[in-house]
């Protein structure tokens, strides 16, 4: 399938949560590289290849951004707003991956143009399934415009 080499950008402040996601993706056979950043500012630096990601090729954009809502520095919605406000980035697939099931958060995310909103299940079996589906869908099934 196309975009096999596409990366995933995981924006997650909790080490444990990140580990579960990354571990699950790997265990489900997702071979794509997962870049993990711990706050909103780092997420934008990664995308724009700035700061500590200066050496990165800025043209190489992730296949999908998995974005938590509550983040240090810039929160998830702020990051989303910045991405959608950038002409080059506005079509970049962004998926909210968060604990919140608050209607408010879902609505705000969609208003800002999120591509998908996924609430993380607490249970191991369910969470594994959700992460597996996410990886499958955004990396293998979904096609995104060339950016």
């Amino acid at each position: 399938m196309s975009n096999e080499k596409g990366d995933i950008l995981l924006v997650e402040d909790s080490d444990d949560e990140a580990e579960i996601v990354i571990r699950t993706l790997k265990s489900k056979g997702v071979a794509n590289e997962v870049h993990w950043v711990k706050d909103g500012a780092d997420a934008l630096d990664f995308i724009y290849a700035k700061g500590k990601y200066q050496g990165r090729d800025p043209r190489r954009l992730p296949q999908v951004v998995l974005l938590d809502l509550q983040l240090p520095k810039l929160d998830g919605l702020e990051v989303l707003r910045k991405i959608r406000g950038d002409a080059r980035l506005k079509l970049l697939p962004v998926v909210m991956l968060t604990s919140s099931t608050q209607q408010e958060d879902i609505v705000r995310s969609y208003e800002l143009g999120v591509n998908s909103y996924v609430a993380k299940p607490v249970k191991f079996e369910e969470f594994s399934k959700v992460v597996e589906h996410l990886g499958m869908y955004w990396l293998l099934i979904n096609r995104r415009p060339e950016l």
């Binding site: 579960i20 604990s99 099931t101 993380k120 607490v122 249970k123 191991f124």
Partner: protein
């Protein structure tokens, strides 16, 4: 006998006595003449003639005198009869009455009633009678005046009567006391002199209104001579007598009322301020609670997820290194994660039940109860469960919220009838006094009514989790939802005798048709 008749009789006696006198005189004269003719030739008889002549004249004079005496006696008798007493007596009475003394009694003998004295007596009686009447009338007027004076002086407020030229005609003592003006000063005042500023204009309009429409009232400050201002309520009424129009009115001191009103306003203002403060405090408490529920949903779930997922990974990837007991212990950990997750979900649901705005619509309660029942029935497996769903009135409610009420009540009924061979759940309803009332009755475990008040509290349970699972928040959510709708919920039960839950919802609009029955 009338005076006229008396006079007639008197004239008649006069005529008769006059005629008698003339007749007697004439008789003697004729007699004398014939004697003269007979005796003229006879000189001898001349002496006797002379003697006889003298005698004749004497006789005539005697007859005349007798006639006159008779006449005088008649005149006297008749006049005494007419006067009713002696002339002196009558004169004395007349002069007494002429001097204005009507007090002494005129004693009348029988037959004197129609005499002058009788007339005097009657006249005096009449004069005395009319004098008595006049005195009585005067006395009446005096008492009337006394009564009306006492009346107007006893009035709690001020009283006044003035004419169209705004001149005071009557007023009570209060008027003088309150206004500070003396009697003579009030008489020279115009009602408008007792007011100033806008009040004066207002009074002018209202006085005109009384004369035009018959009555009016007004609240204004009465300004006394010393400049003291007192709030008064005046009521004026137009009255008419002798073709002239007057304004009669009373004024009541309303300073106490005005003061109380001021205090109430102050209290209200204070109260509003306190309510404002409390509301602000409550709002901030609600905000805290919202923040709390948000962090519950986020921050408590994350560690739970970590516990469960790492336990899961451990079980999945390191199962070989764990013996059966190790695996069982990890299962216990994971079971408790499930419990905790349910608690978190319920807390969130409870906080949302109070927070969300209600979207009212007409809800077919029977259909909703049936729908919810079918949904939760599916999870119960093969049990004998009978739902007796009666005709229910439709409710004006938020459908999503009321759905939760049905879900919790029916789930409870299903849960607590689990040990019955055959569960019977009865749902009934009706409209009472503009309130829709619904009842859910089961034949389950029931509860001790002694602790019934705890049923609707958060995390309150009347059964152990080993007996019946649950977080103890379902009924708290029910109560919260119904509170928000302005409804009520209460329960009846006995251990082993099943439970009955009642809830009510006020009607927002009257309804004619009832909801569908199943």
């Amino acid at each position: 006998m009338t005076p006229q008749q008396k006079l007639m009789r008197f004239s008649r006696s006069l005529l008769i006595s006059g005629a008698l006198v003339v007749l007697m005189g004439l008789t003697f004269f004729l007699y004398v003449r014939s004697e003269l003719k007979v005796d003229r030739a006879n000189e001898i008889r001349q002496i006797s003639y002379v003697m006889t002549d003298e005698l004749r004249y004497m006789l005539i004079a005697l007859a005349l005198a007798l006639g006159l005496m008779f006449m005088l006696w008649r005149i006297y008798a008749i006049s005494k009869d007419i006067l009713g007493g002696s002339l002196d007596e009558v004169y004395a009475q007349i002069s007494r009455m002429g001097s204005g003394d009507f007090s002494s009694v005129i004693e009348l003998k029988p037959g004197q009633k129609s005499s002058v004295l009788g007339w005097l007596s009657a006249t005096q009686a009449k004069l005395n009678e009319s004098e008595r009447e006049r005195l009585q009338a005067e006395e009446n007027v005096r008492s009337e005046r006394l009564l009306s004076d006492s009346l107007i002086n006893s009035l709690p407020g001020i009283f006044y009567l003035f004419d169209e030229s705004l001149r005071f005609l009557r007023w009570n003592e209060n008027f003088e006391r309150v206004s500070g003006y003396s009697h003579d000063q009030v008489a020279a005042l115009s009602p408008l002199d007792l007011f100033d500023g806008e009040d004066r204009v207002l009074l002018q309009q209202r006085i005109a209104a009384v004369f035009a429409d018959g009555q009016s009232d007004v609240e204004a400050h009465l300004v006394s001579r010393t400049g003291e201002r007192t709030p008064y309520c005046f009521t004026g009424l137009r009255i008419e007598f002798h073709g002239k129009r007057f304004l009669i009115g009373v004024g009541l001191d309303i300073s106490k009322r005005v003061e109380v009103e001021r205090q109430i306003r102050e209290l209200n203002a204070g109260l509003e301020q306190r309510i404002g403060q409390r509301t602000a405090q409550l709002e901030s408490a609600v905000k805290d609670l919202e923040g709390f529920s948000y962090s519950v949903s986020h921050d408590l779930r994350a560690p739970l997820r970590a516990i469960d997922n790492f336990s899961g990974i451990l079980l999945e990837e390191h199962a070989a290194q764990l013996d059966a007991e190790g695996q069982r212990l990890l299962d216990v950990v994971r079971r408790n994660v499930t419990k905790m997750e349910r608690l978190i979900d319920d807390i969130l649901m409870f906080s949302r039940a109070g927070k969300q705005d209600l979207k009212y619509s007409r809800v077919d309660m029977a259909a909703l109860a049936r729908e919810v029942f079918d949904e939760i029935r599916a999870a119960e497996g093969a049990r004998a469960i009978e739902l007796r769903l009666a005709t229910l009135p439709a409710a004006d409610a938020d459908r999503t919220a009321i759905r939760q009420v049905w879900a919790n009540l029916l789930a409870n009924a299903l849960k607590f009838t689990r040990r019955r061979e055959r569960a019977v759940i009865e749902v009934t309803g009706g409209i009472e006094n503009g309130v829709c009332a619904y009842t859910v009755r089961d034949n389950g475990a029931g509860f001790d009514p002694q602790y019934g008040y705890r049923l609707f509290g958060v995390f309150q349970r009347l059964h152990s989790t080993e007996e019946f699972e649950g977080t103890g928040i379902g009924l708290a959510i029910v109560k919260r939802v119904l509170d928000k709708h302005g409804g009520q919920v209460w329960a009846e039960g006995e251990p082993g005798m099943g439970a009955v839950f009642h809830f009510t919802l006020p009607q927002r609009e009257p309804q004619t048709q009832k909801g569908d029955s199943s």
